[in-house]
Amino acid sequence: MTTATELRTYTAGIRLQSLSKSYGPVLAVDGIDLTIAPGETVALLGPNGAGKSTTIDMILGLAKPDTGAVQVFGMTPSEAIAQGAIGAMLQTGQLLRDLSVRELIAMMASLYPNPMGVDEVLSVTGIEDIADRRTQKLSGGQTQRVRSAIALVSNPDLLILDEPTVAMDVEVRREFWTSMREFASRGKTVVFATHYLEEADAYADRIVLMARGRIVADGPATEIKATVGLRTIKATLPNVPVETLTQLEGVQTAELRGEAVVLHCTNSDAAIRAVLRDFPTASDIEIAGAGLEEAFLLLTGDEKSEELS
């Protein structure tokens, strides 16, 4: 039996090549190419319906791509799973009932060739205190943490988390990420889907931004954050040409909607000062953090953005 800290060495990580998947008329993933190196922690960031879960299902072999290919450590997903190389926490799912947490983890461990010790899993995920409780008696947050323990029990080299923190409160979320970070620090590859920019920024080295089934940006977390962390200012301000507005400090783009103007700002503080200085008649002012959806649409230059916003 190998110890949990021992790592298999891989030259290839995850490779997705022109991957597409439709569900009926809906094109969920639209020809994406993505390479993730072993040891990277990557966030798939995007609004609901961006194609993150479908992409993850294809990496895991739970969904079959319509076109394209998936390789995980140079293997097909099912080969990688058979070796216990992939651990995953899916978006939804309950635990098997009528077992204690410890028993459930031992049961799952028995399925893998080189599992972590049960006590080690309990300790890494910080659930020793509920180890003897029956799975059907856990709270939502505790259930999520047991699910994360199940994802780790095979001692996987690739850990995939599909919006893992959705059902967690703030404190559980922080503890969860602490344990995942500890696990990633063992040289593991971690891919997680989220629609929280802060979460992606805080825990990923690299952010892959997805919208409408495509990758719209891919880069270091700080870079992506600067791109999508936009704010918008809306104000009623008649008869001002767009060109004048785009030249204001902190404004990236501007659009006119009847009597109203919408300014997409890289620095909304500077922009609002400039607006009030130059146009004291501006009224009905609203400043909002652009939702991811809006930021993405801006980024992709999608013409349908008005219908959606």
């Binding site: 299902d57 895991l60 072999g61 739970l62 969904a63 799973i81 058979a82 070796q83 216990g84 992939i86 651990g87 995953a88 899916l90 939804t92 799912g93 309950q94 635990l95 098997l96 009932r97 009528d98 077992l99 028993e103 459930l104 031992a106 049961m107 799952m108 028995s110 399925l111 893998y112 060739p113 199940i150 095979s154």
Partner: protein, 242 residues
């Protein structure tokens, strides 16, 4: 088969109170109450406790096997089948473990009923006990397939009434609660077409009865083949959809 995995499956089935009560306790209690009160009566020349032991054995083992379906349905709804697809455990091995758990529960039911039967004076010899056990285990094959089939067709909410109602109806028609339809007539014909009838007949070998007639083998075999084909189809459809 991975022994650790199977062990926890068994622990789970023992802890599942409802299935445990219906497949083990209920037939046992009913046997003592009903057969105990009528221990000197004979039915069709068979002592009543023997007759009733056969009925309760078929009822309890049927529940044990069809409960497998309830558990598959519950685990599918919980998303557990998706979780298992991320492990090296094949879906086939998963089904095997489930059926084996059902069979072991059925075997415990039988053993408890044999012990209870002995205390009420049922004539038990090694030969007739082994012959009955063998026939019951074979007669349960259609019910194993039925359990898997139901587990894929029903939700955990809708499967309960089906198991409760369906199994009781089959048990009634098959003569598990008492002889039905005499030895002639439409009801008797219907009774003989059910797989339950032959489970009950398996029990009657305790009273020196013969092994199944050709009709019995054909009926049980036909149910097994048809239900297994349907179960395999439901199972394939379910895994393809993911």
């Amino acid at each position: 088969m991975n022994p650790t995995y199977l062990r926890y499956e068994l622990i789970r089935s023992v802890r599942n109170k409802r299935a445990f009560i219906f497949s083990l306790i209920f037939p046992l209690v009913l046997f003592y109450v009903v057969a105990g009160a009528n221990r000197h009566i004979k039915l069709d020349d068979i002592p009543f406790p023997t007759y009733y032991l056969a009925g309760m054995a078929s009822f309890g083992t049927m529940v044990a096997m069809t409960s497998v379906g309830a558990r598959i349905a519950a685990e599918r709804q919980a998303g557990w089948n998706r979780q298992l697809r991320l492990t090296p455990l094949s879906t086939r091995a998963y089904m095997r473990a489930k059926v084996l758990t059902g069979y072991l529960t059925a075997l415990v039911t039988l053993i408890l009923l044999f012990i209870a039967g002995a205390t009420l004076g049922v004539h038990l010899t090694t030969t007739n006990v082994l012959r009955m056990t063998e026939l019951v285990l074979l007669g349960l094959i259609p019910f194993a397939a039925l359990g898997i089939l139901m587990g894929h067709l029903f939700t955990p909410d809708s499967i309960g009434p089906f198991i409760g109602g369906g199994v009781s109806l089959l048990a009634l028609l098959g003569g598990a609660y008492g002889p039905i339809g005499g030895t002639h007539g439409a009801l008797h014909v219907i009774s003989q077409v059910t797989p339950t009838y032959w489970l009950v007949q398996a029990g009657h070998t305790l009273a020196g009865g013969q092994t199944w007639s050709m009709q019995g083998w054909v009926t049980v075999g036909a149910w097994a083949v048809v239900l297994a084909a349907l179960a395999a189809r439901a199972f394939r459809r379910d895994t393809a959809r993911v």
